[in-house]
Symmetry: C2
Subunit: 332 residues, 2 copies
């Protein structure tokens, strides 16, 4: 895996408003082999919300990445089949289309690749294999028809199911936050405190990593914590999970993580990869201390938190999908 | 508890088409102290879909009574917090507004009363008390505002939350099934086989208990199995759960159950109170044998199953609720 590390120090020094001044696009680019179409998005929405993609029939993508909430589950560890609790906090699905890599450790290169993972993870959705998922979907007439419309006859497969889910996820974009309105010229969209917080965030170097319109560093990785601190470590176990190194096996990658988006962060407590930090003010304090070596004053923390609230966007209205029935029987 | 037992034998003898010929109403009556209003329904829809009404933050009303499916979870026992599995199969919420009593054992006299139950059931949603639920909701600004609009200032309470949920549930009606169109005069809406199956069901006496527009006996109870059968009992444990007697403690009430609706039954496999019968044809065979003492021929079973498919209605389109955020922190 090629890892781009973000250059905090350099960008902190050259940090300016121009680094940040980008509104969130209202459309996400799709890969050439998976163009976004209305019918594909509809199919993806069905699959995304269908708990029958899990072994117990109780866990869907939406269980942990709930679009009725901030795109996550507001939990530390997420809960999969059989009440099992995972070790990482579910990242938000809102604007995930703008991440260059997916999962906290960035091990998936696309939304399509990501969508395949949790379904067969034994503590998440617990299906034994994608062959089993396909066999289930093939028993449901409504899915046969929906896949046929989008991909052609007899087309239910892992590849097509994950393509449809990814196409749906590319529509999950939250534009028109106060920040977006502000950078488009409506200066009254942010409060004076939010503007102060934004400037402070740039000055500190937060946007060295959290760069770009999604404040997610465009696929870069960063070590967290960068600066060791026994006190916070004892409180929040931030170094226990080795992050990228768990994927690559390389010592150099220990505690490296994908830079996560800051969009809608006021809605996605608790914070960090293990979800052990419960409030945004504490998260801001820790980031400054552990990444930038700065002890922030309380008023600066408050200003930055106010700014982060300005990144909460508008959520598009969604109609609930009608999930096709299995027609008077159960799977087994 | 006053128990109305349905009079199978009498109605079986007098059974006629007129017993059945009632289309499903498109509106459900509301109690005088809980009129249905648009804003109340919206609030109820939010609460119904909010997993933060469970101790783990993972189980909402919709988890087991999923309106994207047939109003249930297509499981035998439903799954609550911590992966715990309940002993009864979740009844459908679609058209529950037309049940005179709620729960399989009919222990709740209204939708409002029913809505209060699962939230504090330790193996369902697991909240310690409704006081804890109210305390959580009070921390969420969006709920403060939504309750204020509907019930007045500082009005978050168990009583009002369950009223709102019940108001939402009263909108979950599925009219315009092939059967409804048929009884309104469009004879082509049902197939010849479905008409045969309907007549057979009346002739056998099924509609003695499954009477009225929702085919739910208007609040009557029936013993199940009425006729003992060791073979089926060994297969499906149908008598283990004592039903109404678990509520009343009376021997006379053993194995009595609320007559469940047949509306959308093709979508709600598996069947019966314990969800141990996986297919509708088997369920029909067992009902005839255990309730009416009849060994049905295969073709009669097929006809009745075909008729039951004619009870699948039209599901209203629903917009997903946006659940209000807790604003940059978690509950604890």
């Amino acid at each position: 895996m090629f890892k781009t590390k973000c250059l905090v120090t350099v960008l902190a020094l050259t940090g300016s408003m121009s680094v940040m001044a980008q509104a969130l696009p209202t459309k996400a680019p799709a890969p050439a082999d998976n163009p976004t179409t209305k019918e594909k998005v509809e199919l993806g929405k069905m699959l995304y919300h269908d708990p029958r993609l899990s072994s117990s029939g109780t866990v869907s993508c939406a269980s942990c990445h709930n679009t009725m909430l901030g795109g996550d589950d507001n939990r530390g560890g997420s809960v999969g089949v059989g009440g099992q609790v995972g070790g990482r906090s579910a990242p938000t699905v809102w604007n995930a289309a703008f991440n260059k890599v997916q999962f906290w450790d960035g091990r998936a290169a696309s939304l399509e690749e990501q969508a395949a993972g949790p379904v067969t993870n034994p503590i998440e959705m617990g299906m034994k294999s994608w062959d089993d998922v396909v066999a289930r979907l093939e028993k449901i007439d409504g899915y046969q028809k929906a896949f046929s419309k989008v991909f052609g006859k007899d087309s239910i497969s892992k590849d097509n199911a994950t393509k449809a889910i990814a196409a749906y996820e590319r529509t999950l974009i939250t534009p028109n936050s106060p920040y977006d309105k502000y950078v488009k010229g409506k200066k009254s969209a942010m409060t004076a405190q939010q503007v102060r917080g934004m400037k402070k965030a740039v000055e500190l170097g937060c946007t060295g990593c959290h760069s770009g319109p999604a404040f997610n560093g465009a696929g870069t990785f960063q070590k967290f914590p960068t600066i060791k601190n026994g006190y916070f470590e004892a409180q929040y176990d931030l170094s226990d999970d080795k992050g990228l190194a768990e994927v690559t096996g390389k010592e150099d990658d220990e505690n490296y993580w994908k830079v996560p988006t800051l969009r809608n962060i006021a809605l996605t407590a608790p914070y960090f990869h293990n979800g052990k930090v419960k409030t945004l003010d504490r998260a801001v304090q820790l980031m400054a201390k552990l990444q930038l070596g700065v002890d922030l004053e309380d008023n600066d923390i408050e200003d930055i938190v106010a700014f982060l609230h300005a990144l909460t966007g508008e959520f598009p209205k969604q109609e609930m999908p009608k999930l096709p029935g299995l027609d008077d029987k159960t799977f087994n």
